[in-house]
Assembly symmetry: C2
Homo-oligomer: 427 residues x 2
């Protein structure tokens, strides 16, 4: 494997194509190709088109500055054969290392191999740069024991205590077919075609071993995971993730994000726990509410993102400040208050959710909202208490419906070419 | 209206925010904002972030070089009041002119107006550049007469003969709730958040007059509409749209794209007819087929996109060339042969479709495919005969299912600030 190659194989093939056309002197065709290459380059310049290292102490795609696009998939494992499952995880790891570096999924390339066999890459990302693709794997509770309590693959005793089933929260309207899953893969990239290509090729490689349970496309990251990124806006039109845990917060990452030695089984040390929630927003109702009401619900100004009563987005909220009537400027039921670490025993989350629009709902409304993604050291002390409080008191609930929920243990990073996804878990 | 302003209002607000933070000396916050702005600028530099003129002889979004992202919506008109419908179209036009120039949908801006009223912009595109947003409107057959044959708005006699209901095609598996519609709006942009924002605000403005019937997000344009663009790949992994009608083909655009004087009612002269088809691809089955079979089905090489038997993508296919066994190199059932103008009385289409992934289908498969969009002068002589032939003979049909179909008459462009969508139709 040569992930460090400065020009990706995919790109090299595309450039070679231009060269051939040019030599052949097909003026129109060559011109179009060359212009097109430039066109693509300018749409994805520099860092946004580059590669994120795959190997490391932690998995990429967690503290990596949040890319613009998401394709998330949850798989059911449909084999009972542990060896086949492990072999697939090995094959996936090799493909993931190749694809995140901008190469094809398979060793022959999109159009390589023999004509009589299916191609070992599906081809739709041919010529596209790596686009900061990251692939992050996680293992769900049902991989350890099925609904009947059976130890499916001999790893039931390795289930981390922190991977405890989430409780029911007030107002949950979960659809089982969109929830849970044995294995998840989060693909983030700055080009959706690259993210979709990666998931699709993993599904192709996993044929007969795993089956797609549910999948979700997202656009427009709704959080920053680095101070180098501007705070984006969610579909309520508000800045989201101002107070998010960020890559630069070294002490908080240790205390709040990464599983530490002694937290649970060794195979998870350096990993993180992932909660996903698909949250449908009632945007038509929201759009009929007044600006003042929206700001009272969120607890921030819509334009600047500043906490109510303060001036700047990154000012600390003053939860004690009264208004002219002696009421708190930031209402007791405001989202920013209820979610704040000071109200949750100091609990933080590293969020990297995405907006979604899944067409319409058959009732004249857009099926839109937030695909919430949060990483943390222990959901029992972070997501669960925070969501318990929000689900009971958050004024925003009137406009939200949680339709999907899932929980995964994301192991530490793949160390090198000899390591693979699940090696410590199954080893 | 000042669409020609070099810096958009949205952008001006965002930049103002940076300035204020900088002056206030909130080092962390200001740094984050400034970095963020640069981050956004580099992800959407130059032309890709700029504005496409809204006013003109033809609507933008047809020959405009295909942007990277789509949000398409079909509305049902739910009022019986013609005056309300026309008033909404006027309001839509003003909002479309503003949004395509990178401004907010409403005159007060995202956070303007009075606190007691809902904001006149939903806010999620605040700070984002125009991103080459185009908004293209079309009118469906049911706007002229409903299913019971009633003249709903006194325009039944203005229905163009070319807006004839599409016939049933072999293999159609259309879902009525995803098909048809009284009015469509195609939003294309290089940022999905900008496209979604535009559709969402038009739906908000139209509340009580129209209701969302269906909507579709797309990524990864599957055709080029200009020789300046590289040919992209669809989810079969093949280059798509090599032989597409392009903006530079002036004579063909006149003959094949734009309704000409005498073609039908005057209000459509300079307009074009739009056919959309949501085509689900059986990608898991496709991925198990051999490279040779895939290339025989398409009639092109997967890598280069060259017609079988030729060298370069833009080489003309040689449909007469035999292989070593005396059979045609390009099979009789190959897609490229059946769709070629030479097999369809010279008929061309201007396609600007998009790839889609709508999650999964509950059967372990990705719900993915092509949202086909084609503009033309007269579907009776273009899309209908081509699709009739394809639906009967195309070897690709084994891997396709058409689940949605719609037809719209897209009028000529809005001439100036005194003109509006539907003015000639309802005038």
């Amino acid at each position: 494997m040569s992930n460090a190659a400065p020009v990706s194989r995919r790109r090299a093939i595309a450039l070679a194509g231009v060269g051939v056309a040019g030599v052949a002197g097909v003026a129109g065709g060559a011109g179009a190709l060359i212009q097109g290459a430039a066109d693509h380059a300018s749409a994805n310049p520099g860092a946004a088109a580059g590669a994120v290292p795959f190997h490391g102490a932690h998995q990429a795609g967690i503290t990596t500055p949040a890319q613009d696009r998401l394709h998330f998939v949850a798989f059911d494992v449909i084999t009972k054969d542990r060896a086949r499952l492990v072999a697939m995880l090995q094959e996936w790891t090799a493909a993931a290392a190749r694809m995140t570096a901008g190469h094809d999924a398979g060793v022959f390339g999109a159009v390589g191999g023999v004509p009589e066999a299916p191609p070992d890459d599906t081809g739709e990302a041919l010529g596209l740069p790596p686009s900061q693709l990251t692939l992050t794997v996680g293992f769900g509770p049902t991989l350890f024991r099925d609904a009947q309590g059976r130890d499916r693959f001999g790893i039931a005793d390795r289930r981390p205590p922190a991977l405890a089933d989430l409780p029911h929260f007030a107002g949950d309207a979960l659809r089982p077919e969109l929830s849970g899953g044995d294995i998840c893969v989060q693909a983030c990239a700055n080009d959706p075609q690259v993210a979709v290509h990666a998931i699709r090729n993993l599904a192709r490689i996993g044929m007969g071993v795993v089956s797609v349970r549910w999948s979700q496309l997202g656009f427009g990251r709704t959080s920053s995971t680095s101070r180098e990124q501007a705070t984006p806006r969610n579909l309520f039109g508000f800045k989201d993730g101002t107070a998010n845990l960020k890559a630069e917060d070294a002490d908080l990452l240790r205390d709040q994000l990464w599983a530490q030695p002694g937290d649970g089984p060794d195979w998870m040390t350096g990993g993180s726990y992932l909660v996903t929630r698909k949250i449908r927003m009632q945007i038509e109702t929201w759009d009929r509410s007044s600006l003042a009401e929206q700001e009272q619900i969120v607890g921030r100004a819509k334009g600047s993102g500043a906490p109510l009563g303060r001036r700047q987005e990154f000012d600390e909220p003053d939860f004690a400040a009264p208004d002219a009537d002696g009421q708190p400027v930031i209402p007791e039921t405001a989202h920013v208050r209820l979610a704040h670490p000071s109200r949750n025993n100091g609990a933080h989350l590293l969020r990297r959710g995405y907006n979604f629009v899944d067409g319409s709902d058959g009732l004249g409304r857009l099926d839109a909202g937030l695909f919430f993604i949060a990483y943390q050291r222990d959901p029992r002390r972070q997501f669960v208490p925070i969501q318990t409080q929000l689900s009971r008191h958050d004024a925003m609930n009137e406009y939200l419906r949680h339709v999907s929920s899932a929980l995964f243990a994301c192991p530490p990073g793949v160390r090198d070419a000899g390591d693979h996804w699940g090696r410590a878990l199954f080893g």
